[in-house]
């Protein structure tokens, strides 16, 4: 997909000052807006730790701890910016890299100093490759070399072990762990893989500090977050909100929904359906917990009344089954079976054994090399709760 349009913001930090003509901010424009980063590696780890920043790629792991783990290896490390974003309903990393690439690159360079890396690989969706390459060409970062790489456009390519295997010359498919990339990644070196938005947030924390970062948003999961809003909403696109901002307020900012919402898919294709009555839920993991949901990588889809949630889920499950790396039996056969069951439920033309479906959903999670099957069955289970 191309970069989604950027919508009027609720709270602009990452998306502050971006150009209306859709061109990326040049390095000079970026520096005028944000200044430059001037903090040593050890201090940065401390600042990020105190900020409470968590990964924005879906996992939600504390970024400070990840930095500290790679730094603690004491070896020369590699930084990989994960901008693969192979998930159809997600567009926020593409928007960030297309409009404000230098913020992500500043974060990557600062992280490189923190983990003693001299090499940064910016792994991106091909639609933003040219923008990132131009941005890299503008820069001159002492002691750090940056290069951009286009990642194959498939769902599992953004999984961190898949990225590492791809960068090592192999297929962009997940590998069995351990070792995790922070132990043994690109060329066998300790490798910090961080989502593009996470690094952009880190670049702001490096300039303005943890108190500033925590001054907005939900205390447990502070700061702002990029949300990709899609479905039956008047102005779909990428929004920056403070965490904890109510979904209803975000929908109002987006010009409202077209028709009464029946349900929301929160957290993207690995996400969780929540009912339309939950429209006032705060968009933070604390608030979403009541519905068994998390914000994941920030994709929210609005499903209108009169549309079958089961049919929509069947479509997504078929996609996820087709996008399986095809490496692990429980994922290959399990997701295909669950997708078939949902197709049956959606068409109502054949009997689906609900007990068997529930058993399948309980037996698949945790049995693949990566979290692909776990995400798919979580989505399926939430659809049964909300629609059936």
């Amino acid at each position: 997909m191309s970069a989604a349009p950027v919508q009027e913001p609720v709270t602009r930090r990452l998306l502050a000052g971006i150009r209306a003509d859709g061109r990326p901010l040049s390095l000079a424009e970026h520096r005028r807006l944000h200044g430059s980063v001037d903090v040593d590696g050890r201090t940065l780890v401390e600042l990020v730790d105190r900020s409470g920043l968590r990964g924005r790629g879906g996992g939600g792991f504390p970024t400070g701890r990840k930095l500290a783990a790679v730094r603690a290896s004491g070896r020369r490390a590699v930084v990989v910016v994960n901008g693969a974003e192979g998930e159809p309903p997600a567009g926020k990393d593409k928007v960030l890299l297309a409009y404000q690439p230098h913020l992500v690159l500043d974060g990557a360079v600062a992280a490189a100093h923190a983990v003693r890396a001299r090499e940064v690989v910016v792994a991106v969706n091909r639609v933003v490759l040219a923008a990132v390459e131009r941005a890299i060409a503008e820069r001159d970062d002492p002691k750090v070399t940056l290069r951009a790489v286009a990642v194959p456009d498939r769902f599992v390519a953004g999984e961190e072990t898949a990225l590492v295997q791809f960068l090592n010359g192999g297929p962009a498919l997940p590998t069995f762990t351990p070792p995790r990339p922070f132990e043994r990644g690109v060329r066998g070196l300790p490798t910090l893989v961080q989502n593009a938005e996470t690094l952009a947030q880190l670049a702001l924390i490096a300039r303005r500090g943890p108190e500033w970062f925590r001054s907005v948003g939900d205390p447990e999961h502070p700061g702002t977050v990029l949300v990709t809003l899609s479905g039956s909403v008047r102005e779909a696109g990428v929004y920056e909100i403070a965490t904890g901002y109510p979904l209803s307020a975000l929908l109002a900012d987006a010009g409202g929904t077209s028709g009464e919402p029946q349900a929301f898919l929160v957290g993207g294709y690995f996400g969780t359906w929540i009912p339309g009555t939950a429209v006032d839920v705060p968009l933070a993991n604390g608030g979403l917990q009541a519905y068994g949901a998390t914000l994941g990588a920030g994709a929210v889809r609005v499903l209108p009344r009169g549309t079958s949630g089961i049919a929509e889920t069947a479509r997504i499950l078929r996609y996820l089954a087709d996008e399986s790396a095809g490496q692990c039996g429980p994922c290959v056969y399990g997701l295909a079976a669950v997708a078939d069951d949902f197709a049956g439920l959606a068409s109502r033309d054949r009997h689906v054994d609900r007990d068997r479906l529930e058993r399948r959903l309980g037996a698949i999670a945790g049995r693949g090399a990566c979290r692909h099957p776990d995400g798919a069955v979580r989505l399926a289970a939430s659809a049964l709760r909300v629609f059936a």
């Binding site: 997940p174 590998t175 069995f176 490496q327 692990c328 039996g329 429980p330 994922c331 056969y333 399990g334 079976a337 399948r360 037996a363 049995r367 693949g368 090399a369």
Partner: protein, 69 residues
């Protein structure tokens, strides 16, 4: 309790199913023939069964791993 745990490398596993035959105390098969492994620590009395199952796996996908800590 021993400090051994059983784990499957799901990429290597081809679903031969030998592990469930050799170590039924801890391994069952799903409807497609792939192992569902109980990953809780293995009692000493079962250690020999576990080791044999791991050794006999035709693709060496069944791993015995020392518990961390």
């Amino acid at each position: 309790m021993s400090d051994l745990e059983l784990r499957v490398d799901p990429i290597a596993c081809d679903g031969h199913g030998l592990c469930a035959e050799l170590f039924p105390e801890r391994v069952s098969l799903d409807e497609w023939g792939y192992p569902i492994v109980d990953a809780t620590p293995i009692p000493r009395s079962l250690e020999q069964h576990a080791k044999r199952a791991a050794k006999e796996c035709p693709v060496l996908a069944l791993r015995l791993k020392r518990r961390a800590g």
